[in-house]
């Protein structure tokens, strides 16, 4: 009986994921004894997230490559880890007041968010197809459950079912694509694949091509780009609001960074064909997202379409495929996290006792009744629309800058025009708040913690807009 040599395990680079896994299990255990009071779980989860965030800085000299080249900690992954930790923490904070009001009592909720965060962190660092696959699956499976965690609500059920079936369907394509890529190159490591492609030693270029197509489909689904976006509006509408916010930021960022890694690291050299394709996809995504949003009457659905259009902008950075593109994605996602959590915070604040109050027309008159909240909402809407001096503007600016540097001027012009279209529906909400009188009185549920989240988000949106440099330094 031969002995298997013990593999070297780099605990330091794994630290954030390890800490969160441990805290996830801890939360599960504590749930047994906590009874009805979930505050302890929340506290433990937040501690875990903070520790994970701190430990992300543990590796001394970046980048650290470990596990035989299947896991890398570089500036990008550290920054994304921060985004994930941050967005998970905000999700949990938003849930504290939302969950009891909407009949979500399961303590496992928090554990699932932590596990999901583990998946995202792994995904951001993964440089091996198998790791990427597993990362995506950890994230997806947690999200399927989170989307349907409002068990008594038919909408939530339907959202979970749709997300699950379509997600599993897309996973099929994704894993098939990875298989073909493996078959063509004989390795699952991104660096190895790049090497094989570079040397022209592939087993079959066709397999490579086909694999890449299927991979695009799989990733396209996960980031909700056209024509694989159709799940997004339905799932976003049906899932509980904090989960929707979470989905729009964390998992999307994780999928994007993996997408970016695959395209920038593994297959940069078969670029030119893909560029045209990705450009078409990016344009379609922006157009469909923005035009779909215009007629929406449900705020969550509107935000879903808007998030589709934002993916379109982000794809431009992937097309640019330079280092500027990577940090532009990172900056964009951070800014987007602030804006989306702020917006959803307000959506949750405006929820009533018995209904979530999601119709946009109910926002009428907010400018008079709740001037501060209306002003915050205005900031978020303007920022989402890419108006200076807010974070959304700078984020778009860097993405477009990265694209222009590579000479994609037409693409940028289309994107700018799309931003103008998007202002139409963002400003519609602002106009409604300030220009219309409310039709009925609302019994708003002004939770202090949710308010705090909104305040943090406003601060972040403005701060990142006025002083973009510090955050940008972090991403490079």
């Amino acid at each position: 009986m031969e002995h298997i040599p013990a593999p070297a395990i780099d605990f330091i680079s794994l630290a954030p994921a390890l800490i969160l896994s441990v805290f996830g299990m801890l939360v599960l255990l504590m749930d047994l004894f906590a009874g009805k009071n979930k505050n302890l779980l929340v506290f433990a989860s937040l501690v875990g997230l903070v520790l994970a965030g701190v430990s992300a800085f543990a590796p001394k000299a970046l980048p650290v490559v470990s596990f035989g080249g299947s896991y890398v900690v570089d500036h990008l992954s550290v920054f994304f880890t921060l985004i994930f930790v941050f967005s998970s923490a905000l999700t949990i904070l938003l849930s504290i007041e939302y969950n009891p009001r909407n009949g979500i009592r399961a303590g496992e909720y928090y554990a699932l968010i932590l596990f999901c965060t583990v998946g995202m962190i792994l995904l951001a660092s993964a440089t091996d197809l198998i790791m990427i696959f597993l990362g995506i699956e950890v994230v997806s499976i947690c999200l399927y459950v989170l989307a349907g965690i409002k068990r008594g609500d038919v909408k939530s059920n339907e959202a979970a079912l749709k997300y699950f079936l379509l997600g599993a369907f897309a996973t099929g394509f994704l894993v098939y694509g990875m298989t073909l890529l493996y078959g063509a190159t004989g390795t699952t490591k991104l660096a190895g694949i790049a090497e094989v492609i570079h040397s022209g030693q592939t087993n079959s270029d066709t397999l490579l091509l086909l694999g890449t197509v299927l991979l695009i489909i799989g990733f396209g689904f996960k980031v909700a780009s056209v024509p694989f976006h159709m799940w997004a509006p339905d799932v976003y509408e049906g899932a509980p609001s904090p989960v929707t916010a979470f989905m729009a930021v964390g998992p999307k960022a994780a999928a994007l960074v993996a997408f970016y890694r695959v395209f920038a690291t593994a297959i940069p050299e078969i670029g030119t064909t893909w560029d045209t394709l990705l450009m078409v996809v990016a344009v379609a995504t922006m157009v469909i997202g923005n035009f779909g949003a215009i007629v929406q009457t449900n705020i969550k659905r509107l935000l879903a379409y808007s998030s589709i259009s934002h993916v379109g902008y982000l794809l431009i950075a992937i097309i640019a495929r330079n280092s500027l593109g990577g940090s532009a994605i990172a900056y964009y996602m951070m800014a987007y996290a602030f804006m989306i959590f702020g917006t959803f915070g307000i959506v949750i604040l405006l929820g009533e006792k018995n209904s979530e109050n999601l119709e946009i027309k109910n926002y009428a008159g907010l400018g008079v009744k709740q001037p501060a909240i209306a002003l915050c909402m205005t900031v978020f809407m303007l920022s989402l629309g890419g108006m200076p001096p807010f974070a959304g503007f700078i984020a778009k600016f860097y993405i477009f800058g990265a694209a222009i540097k590579e000479g994609y001027v037409v693409l940028v012009v289309i994107a700018v025009l799309n931003s103008v279209v998007s202002l139409y529906y963002y400003l519609k909400i602002v106009v409604l708040m300030y220009m219309k009188d409310s039709e009925r009185e609302l019994e708003l549920s002004m939770g202090p913690i949710t308010l705090a989240v909104v305040a943090i988000a406003v601060f972040g949106t403005i701060e990142m807009g006025l002083f973009p440099d510090p955050i940008l330094q972090l991403t490079q």
Partner: protein, 622 residues
């Protein structure tokens, strides 16, 4: 050196934020004063800046960029958070905050009974802030930011009475028109960035003369796109239709935004970018031509309007046309001078009109007014001064500024007889319609017996009197303005002396006033009665009647027909129709996109596979 100049911007911004965030907690009485105080502070600081600049040597007055810190720094491209303090921006500061301050005070009285008093002042402060951003921008980026912000503030203020559907519609129209302009500006900015690699005025204006020959196609394109923005904001043909509709907003708003400040932004833009425009004589010619055509066009329409505010609105368009004529001819300081005097007398006229409307219980139709002179003496006199200034009556401020432009239209390098003739013609019309308005409203007998007009409170009449003072006397500042701004424009504008032409202009002005007087001084329903009592005057009256007929046949009817035609074709079917159609079509597309989303999982899966098939085909065959 001018670091404290930031306060000009910050003060109204703080006012806006505090009023909109804590509006509920600030008592109503204080809110108005807070708003006034912030603008007053800005005005005060602008005055200090003025003094500060005046003591400097002329060559040190330009290029005072106050950078707070570097905002964006991405390799080649750098953008600072900065304001530019030079004579031109301080000049604009003074007008914006000065006139703005008086209008704020006026609003205290005018909006006193409005339930949303605080929201109004919050928006006003936002506007002042935006306008200051616009004029103090040190680069094209913040220029556009300010450009868009004033559009936003104007939108909010036009639609301030949101229960009034016409106001909401007008607000939307103004917004869409302004967005068209903004897009033009954006394109121009992109081209500038592409050409110069920078957006800062300093760099662009320094390198431009070395980079282009005159009428280089690039510089023409850049300036033309800038013009789209300027024309949209300043309501020049063909992007003018929003301005008359914007009168749906409260009257102080019309005075501040749609007469004194925002609409002059286009003129400011041309003056600010004069380096670029001078390199494109073609564009300059376009500016002058469009300016004078707009002036004439709006003048004819103003003659037949019956809504007191619309008359003044068209007159504003017409006067803006003069300013564009001036800057188009290269007489930048004349344009700025007319901008200043216009700000005084037009704000005065609007505020006077507001005072009238206020006392007539929101009646705006001049045919129902009349004989207000006795009831409202202060308004009467100040309105008279405003009308005189607008008509270019000798020795009022309007006389000096307009005269300079009319002279330049003939004598300057680019001037010609056509410009001059149209300018003189428009001057005559201006005199006519302003006094038609004045006589109809203040002279004769009241046409609505049950109205009980009363003089407005001191918060309203005070600003009227101050503005009247300036409208009367600001003419003496002409040379000072020219001298003060000359470092920016690189030299003095030549003042042309031509006694003959000046006399013609003055005579035409008198003619206009006289005609209006003959036609409107005496209400026509008393004609028969008078004819019996005063036989000697019978002839004159008869003649008046006769003239009226001729006038009606020769001038009023054709003008009416033309203006109706223009309104039909140009406004309802042309631009407006296009704008509405864009909205409708966008919504149609949007509906299709969302109906595609059928809600059925199998359809979604089918779409995914269809998408995949498309991608495969794309890859396999392309």
């Amino acid at each position: 050196m001018f670091g404290y100049g930031w306060l000009v911007l910050i003060s109204p911004l703080l006012g806006f934020l505090s009023l909109s965030c804590f509006g509920k907690r600030i008592p109503r009485s204080i809110a108005g004063y807070v708003a006034c105080a912030t603008v007053g502070l800005s005005f005060f600081i602008s005055l200090i800046l003025l003094v500060h600049l005046s003591v400097l040597e002329p060559e040190n007055r330009v290029g005072g960029v106050q950078a707070m810190y570097t905002w964006i720094d991405s390799g080649q491209f750098q953008l600072d958070f900065a304001i530019l303090i030079d004579p031109l921006s301080v000049f604009m500061f003074l007008i914006v905050t000065g006139v703005g301050f008086f209008i704020h005070v006026y609003s205290l009285g005018y909006m006193e009974h409005d339930p949303e008093f605080k929201r109004f002042f919050a928006y006003l402060n936002l506007f002042i802030f935006s306008m200051c951003v616009l004029v103090s921008a040190a680069d094209f980026f913040f220029l556009i930011v300010g450009w868009a912000l004033v559009g936003l503030a104007s939108y909010l203020l036009i639609g301030f009475w949101r229960d009034k559907p016409s106001a909401v519609l007008a607000a939307r129209k103004a917004f869409v028109m302004n967005v068209i302009g903004d897009v033009g500006m954006l394109i121009a900015a992109f081209m500038i960035l592409e050409t110069f690699g920078s957006l800062s005025y300093q760099k662009v204006f320094e390198s431009a003369p070395g980079m282009f020959l005159a009428n280089d196609i690039n510089v023409i394109l850049i300036t033309l796109f800038l013009l789209v923005g300027a024309f949209a904001k300043s309501a020049q043909l063909p992007l003018h239709t929003w301005l008359p509709d914007a009168m749906e907003g409260p009257t102080p708003v019309s005075a501040l935004i749609h007469a004194a400040t925002m609409v002059t932004a286009g003129v400011y833009l041309v003056a600010r970018c004069h380096t670029l425009f001078e390199l494109a004589p073609f564009t300059m010619y376009v500016i002058a031509t469009v300016g004078i055509i707009t002036a004439t066009f709006a003048g004819t329409i103003a003659m037949v309007q019956t809504d007191i505010k619309r008359v003044i609105a068209y007159s504003t368009m017409s006067q803006l046309g003069y300013m564009f004529l001036a800057v188009g001819l290269g007489m930048f300081s004349f344009g700025m001078f007319h901008l200043m005097t216009h700000a005084f007398f037009k704000a005065l006229l609007f505020l006077g009109a507001g005072s009238v409307i206020h006392s007539m219980n929101d009646e705006q139709d001049i045919r129902k007014m009349g004989g207000l002179a006795k009831a409202m003496p202060i308004t009467y006199i100040t309105f008279l001064i405003g009308s005189l200034a607008l008509a270019g009556f000798p020795l009022t401020s309007g006389f000096f500024s307009k005269e300079a432009i009319i002279m330049a239209s003939y004598h300057s390098a680019m001037g010609n007889i056509a410009f001059w003739a149209l300018a003189i013609f428009t001057a005559g019309m201006t005199a006519f319609y302003s006094f038609r308005l004045f006589f109809t409203v203040f002279q004769g007998d009241s046409r609505t017996p049950d109205a009980h007009p009363h003089e407005s409170p001191i918060t309203m009449t005070g600003p009227l009197m101050i503005l009247a003072f300036f409208a009367l006397t600001a003419g003496v500042l002409g040379h000072w303005v020219d001298g003060f701004l000359s470092p920016v424009f690189g030299g003095h504008a030549e003042h042309y002396e031509d006694g003959f032409l000046e006399t013609i202009a003055v005579l035409v002005g008198f003619g206009g006033i006289l005609t209006a007087g003959l036609l409107y001084m005496v209400p026509s329903d008393r004609v028969a009665q008078l004819r019996e009592v005063l036989a000697p005057i019978h002839d004159i009256l008869f003649h008046k009647y006769y003239v009226d007929e001729i006038y009606d046949f020769l001038i009023v009817k054709p003008v009416k027909a033309i203006s109706v035609f223009l309104e039909d074709m140009g406004e309802k079917k042309g631009v407006d129709f296009a704008v509405d159609q864009v909205g409708v079509q966008v919504r149609e597309v949007s509906k299709y996109v969302s109906i595609w989303q059928s809600g059925r999982i199998r359809d979604y899966a089918l779409n995914m596979v269809a998408g995949m098939a498309l991608v495969l085909i794309f890859v396999a065959f392309l």
